[in-house]
């Protein structure tokens, strides 16, 4: 797969001792960032294809399974979650055992309902504010002021769980079945 080739090349370059320890020159560090970014960007295509295959829609013309990676989650910024009132969160477990984890996605609103697609469960979702210091990080171009936090339970080994996150106004928030 051509898109995987980018990762292979990055893997070769990043074994240099300066890349491991961070003792490369600044311009080289910036080039490493470029290589890794491009590899991650291409990885989105591989993930979309893989999920499409699992879902049996590999040959579908539907855009349903165009999956995006969120490379700026470390600064609480993510385009698909903060710009859409309804979005799907796909949690992939790379371990060979089931794992439960807390998912944290940046949003603009104050009320959200989370729904697990496969088992129909509504995990409890909580909104927490993104600290001001994070919002002020130089170069962070995000309109997210809050994060939705929920527990993704029992993600199967080497498998996925999909959650639909829906923005609500305060008036239409109703108790969801647990």
């Amino acid at each position: 797969d051509e898109s995987l080739e980018h990762f292979r090349e990055a893997m070769g370059v990043m074994q240099h001792h300066d890349a491991i320890t961070g003792t490369e020159k600044q311009k080289v560090a910036e080039d490493y960032s470029r290589i890794l970014y491009e590899s991650m960007d291409k990885a989105g295509e591989i993930i979309s294809k893989a999920i499409g295959k699992w879902a049996g829609t590999a040959n579908s013309t539907s855009e349903t399974f165009k999956i995006f990676t969120c490379l700026e989650l470390n600064i609480s910024s993510c385009a698909f979650s903060e710009k859409n009132d309804v979005f799907a969160v796909v949690v992939y477990n790379p371990l060979s055992r089931p794992v439960s984890t807390y998912v944290r996605v940046p949003v603009q609103g104050n009320f959200y309902v989370v729904h697990s697609v496969i088992d129909g469960v509504y995990p409890t979702a909580q909104i927490v504010p993104i600290p001001e210091a994070v919002q002020k990080i130089p170069g962070r171009k995000s309109s997210a002021t809050n994060e939705v936090v929920f527990r993704a339970s029992n993600i199967p080994p080497l498998g996925i769980r999909v959650y639909i996150v829906t923005k609500k106004t305060q008036e239409n928030v109703v108790d969801q079945p647990q």
């Binding site: 300066d18 961070g22 003792t23 490369e24 020159k25 600044q26 560090a29 989105g44 993930i47 829609t57 539907s62 855009e63 349903t64 399974f65 165009k66 999956i67 995006f68 990676t69 969120c70 470390n74 600064i75 993510c78 698909f80 979650s81 710009k83 859409n84 309804v86 979005f87 799907a88 969160v89 796909v90 949690v91 992939y92 477990n93 790379p94 371990l95 794992v99 439960s100 984890t101 807390y102 998912v103 996605v105 409890t124 979702a125 909580q126 927490v128 504010p129 600290p131 001001e132 210091a133 994070v134 990080i137 130089p138 170069g139 936090v149 929920f150 527990r151 993600i155 999909v162 639909i164």
Partner: protein, 286 residues
């Protein structure tokens, strides 16, 4: 309850110095977490004794770390999923401390930078976890995620060492975990890191980890540049996480198992991906 966050294992608050006080419930164990900084040595690089602190070497100018003047504040957010303590130390050091009802660890989400350098002083920022554990100069660091290696302060196992630089001479690489053990009281304290960091235990019961560095002189080891990274015209901001995990080691097997599960979960963390759901990409299809 607006002054602390807690679950059945811990109680976490901010003390008058602005440090984080963590008390284990029903156990004689406590930790105070603080942020400090070292000023980087500046030499003329003509002989090795005059080398500057830089990309290759950590060489603090002074014999101890400096405390930050606490001008910050904190806020607490509690809910059914997570309890968070948002703490600001100053304009460029802050953190979020999280505890989840279904997890045994404490998550410390630290944020450091841009480190100011207008005063022409290079700074190296550390966080220190000071516990009441009796550790007899001993601590443990991992070896690239493999076995834990025993480290003894001011000591090398194969020769008699006399350290001329007692801070950096006791620093070791921490790629996934640094740990303390109190054999007498059967207590353990582990800090799991999300990236390789330098770490040490400079006093009994303490764990110290280097978070971020901004230095103004090249250390003359070959890179030819000072470790002074910038982005968007300002010094870099570093954000990362520590997971604190500890307490009484009753069933050793159970403790090790939980610890390993957490380490694996952090090293191979689930990927968070997503897609907008709209009319052409409808909910039913998803």
């Amino acid at each position: 309850s607006d002054k602390f966050i807690s679950n059945e294992l811990y109680n976490i608050s901010v003390n008058t110095n602005g440090n984080l006080a963590i008390r284990w419930n029903n156990q004689d164990m406590s930790v105070v977490q603080s942020f400090q900084y070292y000023t980087g040595a500046e030499g003329n690089n003509k002989i090795s004794a005059n080398r500057s602190s830089g990309a290759y070497i950590f060489r603090p100018k002074e014999t101890s770390a400096r405390n930050f003047a606490y001008i910050g504040s904190y806020k607490i957010y509690k809910g059914p999923v997570v309890e968070e303590l948002h703490q600001t130390i100053n304009d460029w050091v802050s953190q979020v401390v999280r505890i989840y009802p279904e997890e045994e660890y404490i998550e410390l989400d630290w944020l450091v930078g841009p480190i100011p350098v207008k005063d022409k002083i290079g700074r190296e920022i550390v966080t220190r976890y000071s516990s009441n554990l009796q550790t007899d100069k001993t601590f443990y660091t991992d070896s690239n995620g493999r076995e834990m290696l025993k480290r003894v302060r001011n000591y090398r196992p194969t020769w008699d060492v006399e350290l001329y630089e007692p801070i950096s001479g006791n620093y070791y690489p921490v790629t996934s975990k640094i740990a303390l053990k109190d054999e007498k009281n059967q207590l353990k304290l582990n800090v799991l890191v999300d990236r390789a960091q330098g770490g040490s235990s400079l006093e009994d019961g303490d764990v110290e980890l280097m978070l971020h560095r901004r230095l103004l002189k090249d250390d003359a080891f070959g890179v030819g540049e000072a470790l002074n990274e910038t982005a968007f015209g300002e010094g870099l901001v570093a954000r990362g996480r520590h997971h604190l995990f500890g307490g009484k080691v009753k069933g050793v097997d159970e403790f090790v198992l939980k610890e390993k599960e957490l380490a694996l979960k952090l090293a191979l963390h689930p990927w968070i991906l997503g897609t907008p759901v709209n009319s052409s990409n409808n909910l039913e299809d998803v």
